[in-house]
Symmetry: D2
Subunit: 288 residues, 4 copies
């Protein structure tokens, strides 16, 4: 048709080959969203579990995602260096991932917030960043985990001062201004009898999602699942234990300690217990 | 921190100033999504109403959107040439609009699909395209409306052949292969006693969302609403009647014909009738 | 071959259609280059003539250039909005124009600097900028001409203070610091008996190159030439007189005043006088 | 000034950090340029020496270039992964390198073509390509050297058939159509008593420019020079011998075999012999 020429105004940016592709999404005005929905401070278990759930839907749908890392209102998805997903068209990858994350966040809200109705539709931004080397990628993830730790230590101390210490927000802020990590630990320990190290790992470390095969308690056979871990990824240990990630090899068997219960995120993937009916309908992966 | 350097890998693309910014979103694998959720064929009133609802939430939240046009599983948002929204950062604009659209689509699903449960979280892609001149912008919108007409005429005839004529999908496809618009009209008229012109305007023309002030039936005062119109925008008439759009002037008063009921999309914005409780909580527009 | 994959790492940026394309080149470290080659201060007629010559070679070679504007060590080339030169590939256009400019600058050096040998090979940077509207383009050219005027008024006064007034560079700089245009005019007039308005038009206005047909003194027939003009292009007058530029119409006849001699740049294009032997061998325009 | 806003239309693309930056320039319409200037076929020693000279001026001026590779009418410059030259602004790097190459090509023409006057100013295009890994970079250079070999074998056989065998261009082309490398070697050997392996190394391998310290025959002290080599860089041997390149370490001492004369390109850098007066005036490197 005579209007078809307008298609030529579209740009066609392909992401540089042989680079790790990172898509980071971040909640829009979640300071306000968390307040409006009475998120527990500083960390709301349900909110973080919902973020992990939404991220696992995305990771399950797009097999080229080798790892995801989330904290607070953000999630980072790492696509394998050699992915050909949508011909490496940046906008296409970025918008499908952020749209599916948003959609899953709203879709699964009721399952995680049984008493709080979702008051209005939230939104998440997204951006694509390329990291040419394994070291750059590790430094990116370390940057996010360090950010998680610093924010969580600050927020944990801040809300202790406010909720337990009775200070106003401004007083707490002034009190913490210029303090070192050690000072914050000291405040928590001496004034609130709280040992920061005993805080839940997820709050301190954020959540790493990786693909692993684990023995299903239902039938003992190994099943491929998206496994949430809350551990350090700044030191080498994590990368040595899970060398298949940077090496882009197939998922390895993960020996989940017998005695500790499987995370609900895994149970729902194995259709066990209360999540049984939550059969994950795999959205047929539509390749370009 | 020593990891902060990774931030320098982010690109900072600013969209060229003084161009119309168009963000088009399009449902991912909606051929499958529509089938899985038993959308009426070829057009499902509830599905199209939900698309319009999601688009109106986006248009209500981002005031620099001067017009939106939707058909099938796609919506186009036009931002004013001189917008400074998020410093004209393409990815930021594109992802917030597509994420809020997706979120609203899932959030308002039950209100439009009372009997069909949403089976899995849908996703929408998004892209940004710049149009330097008013003529380019009009040609873009004409391209989409022409596409709507051609697809709708084909689909209306196709499903008439299948649902009423008893043909299989392949037979219907072969029958329509190579036919002109006139042939399709002829089939509808002679074999199915259907005059294509009498099809609902929304199916033939798609939906235009523009900002207008209309007299609220509740109290007669003029209220700024997002008004859905189903009319031609390829000829000059629409642009002459609504000259404030390309001129980027304030919304004009729209004389809604007394006798015809206001669209539910408008009633919900005026908090009237069954949509009363559907108070639109304005998400505080967060400017960068 | 097994190495061919490396080609896929090349980006293919096409410049947005329907925008004026401006390529501006600027001499690298010309402060040093002009000193090393004893350019007259503040303006060296030969240097400016050579810049105009190099620009005219570029404009002659690439017919889609509708106008060029030069001052000091920079030149701007304006390509027609609808050019398809090299499929509007930005780097291709930018590098061919800047390379041919550089090559012509060195090639024609001896013809303009008869006594000063070119001491080392100069270099010019280049950049591409898109201007969506005629007004943006006019404002761009006005920006460059205003810059030319401000710099020239400053430099003319500065070098008068130094070369005629005997001040050191620093003294002259301090003297001019914070002065208005009127103050500078006053210094020139009262201390150096110089009326700025009588300075050569090329120094004050820079050089505009446009395509015109003029009657050749050799045989009276109209010949298409690249004509250098030194006049204001900030007011409307220039654009009204030369409306074919923005309207992208064919070159008009230009009535060169009988009594004043044709610029040497034109004579060389008409192969007249000392420039006769300087037959311009048209480099076959290679379209992509 | 009120026109300053036009500056905001400039894009600011920074090249992705931690990637090898390759700038390849290529002569514009050199098929025609080489014919017009009677270049010896298939390889013209002077033309190739001039290309190497121009490239060495560029490499001498921009210290972040770690290696250059040239063949036919093209040259590739490799900048170190961590260069901060002009804040890694792509257009700035690309245009300064291609402009200085062009300028040096014209500037030094007479020194290499004593009898042939430069008939018109040549031009070179340029492009920037990023290579994230050392392997990608090696494959890029291998791609260019393999291209050099294939073209040279074809051209050597083609021109033997035409200049010695008396065939027309078309006959030679038809004769070579579909032949393998071995067939071409066979034609050269059996019909023209030419052993392709004995062809000059520069014609077969192209020219590698790297920074080395060599003992100056003038005073025996080690001088940093840009050394032209004509050897294979597809196998590992070259990269093992010159490991400082990929490791971005300082230039190593190169034992130039006593008996063979130093290349003129090196002599001119050491100001020895006829090139003594060709004192290279270092253009002060202007950092952004
Ligand atoms: N109470 C509570 N707040 C949370 C939780 N997770 C995230 N938030 C809030 C705390 C922060 O104010 C906000 C995340 O920081 P951001 O820098 O992303 O701020 P925000 O989203 O408001 O701004 P943005 O639109 O992203 O620029 O979300 C949670 O688990 N509990
Ligand atoms: N039955 C029915 N189908 C609809 C309706 N609206 C959209 N669809 C379906 C028809 C088309 O197959 C599809 C829209 O065409 P697309 O080219 O976007 O196809 P699809 O989304 O499957 O592919 P994509 O992922 O966008 O490349 O959605 C509706 O109201 N009723
Ligand atoms: N004496 C004299 N100097 C001139 C003439 N034309 C240009 N120049 C010098 C004056 C300025 O210092 C310089 C042009 O200003 P720029 O901002 O381009 O400075 P420059 O080229 O040194 O820096 P750049 O490498 O472009 O960032 O060239 C002339 O006709 N006569
Ligand atoms: N006789 C001769 N010709 C050469 C020599 N070096 C390069 N050439 C010619 C042969 C080729 O026709 C041409 C280089 O191939 P290109 O693909 O770059 O062709 P050309 O520059 O004509 O097209 P382009 O403007 O780059 O697209 O230059 C030489 O040493 N001797
Ligand atoms: O969506 P369109 O109209 O650009 O066309 P497509 O075939 O869906 O292609 P893509 O969505 O991948 O750009
Ligand atoms: O989100 P970040 O960390 O890049 O930092 P910001 O201040 O939120 O900036 P923006 O989201 O607008 O890039
Ligand atoms: O120069 P190349 O090798 O990329 O190939 P080409 O055919 O000359 O194409 P262009 O120079 O226009 O990219
Ligand atoms: O050349 P300009 O006018 O953009 O300004 P500058 O200070 O020379 O900056 P650069 O040439 O590096 O863009
Ligand atoms: Mg942010
Ligand atoms: Mg946020
Ligand atoms: Mg955040
Ligand atoms: Mg599509
Ligand atoms: Mg679709
Ligand atoms: Mg569609
Ligand atoms: Mg500059
Ligand atoms: Mg300069
Ligand atoms: Mg300048
Ligand atoms: Mg080429
Ligand atoms: Mg070439
Ligand atoms: Mg070539």
């Amino acid at each position: 048709s005579k209007f078809e020429y307008v298609r030529k105004f579209e740009t066609e940016e392909k992401l540089l080959p042989n680079c790790w592709i990172v898509v980071r999404i971040d909640g829009r005005a979640f300071h306000q969203f968390s307040t409006k929905h009475n998120f527990k401070k500083p960390n709301d278990e349900s909110a973080l579990a919902l973020m992990n759930k939404a991220a696992s839907v995305v990771m399950n749908e797009f097999k080229d995602i080798v790892l995801a890392y989330g904290q607070s209102d953000e999630y980072s998805f790492v696509l394998r260096k050699d992915t050909a997903l949508y011909n490496r068209r940046g906008p296409k990858i970025m918008t499908y991932l952020s749209s599916l994350f948003t959609s899953s966040y709203v879709y699964h809200w009721n399952q995680f917030f049984k008493e709080t109705k979702l008051k209005y539709p939230p939104a998440f931004d997204a951006r694509v960043v390329l990291y040419p080397s394994d070291q750059n990628l590790r430094d990116y993830l370390s940057w996010r985990q360090a950010d998680c730790h610093i924010n969580n230590l600050y927020n944990t101390t801040f809300w202790a001062l406010v909720l337990k210490g009775g200070l106003t927000n401004n007083e707490a802020e002034k009190r913490l201004c210029g303090t070192l990590s050690s000072d914050k630990n000291e405040i928590l320990f001496s004034e609130f009898n709280t040992n920061y190290n005993n805080e839940p790992e997820m709050f301190k470390k954020g959540t790493i999602l990786i693909r692993k095969r684990i023995k299903s308690p239902k039938h003992g056979k190994a099943r491929l699942v998206i496994l949430p871990l809350h551990e350090d990824l700044i030191q080498d240990k994590f990368w040595e234990k899970n060398s298949e990630i940077l090496a882009i090899k197939t998922a390895q068997l993960y020996e989940w300690p017998e005695e500790s219960p499987l995370p609900s995120l895994v149970l729902s993937q194995l259709h066990i217990g209360e999540f049984d009916r939550d059969k994950e309908i795999v959205i047929i992966e539509e390749t370009d």
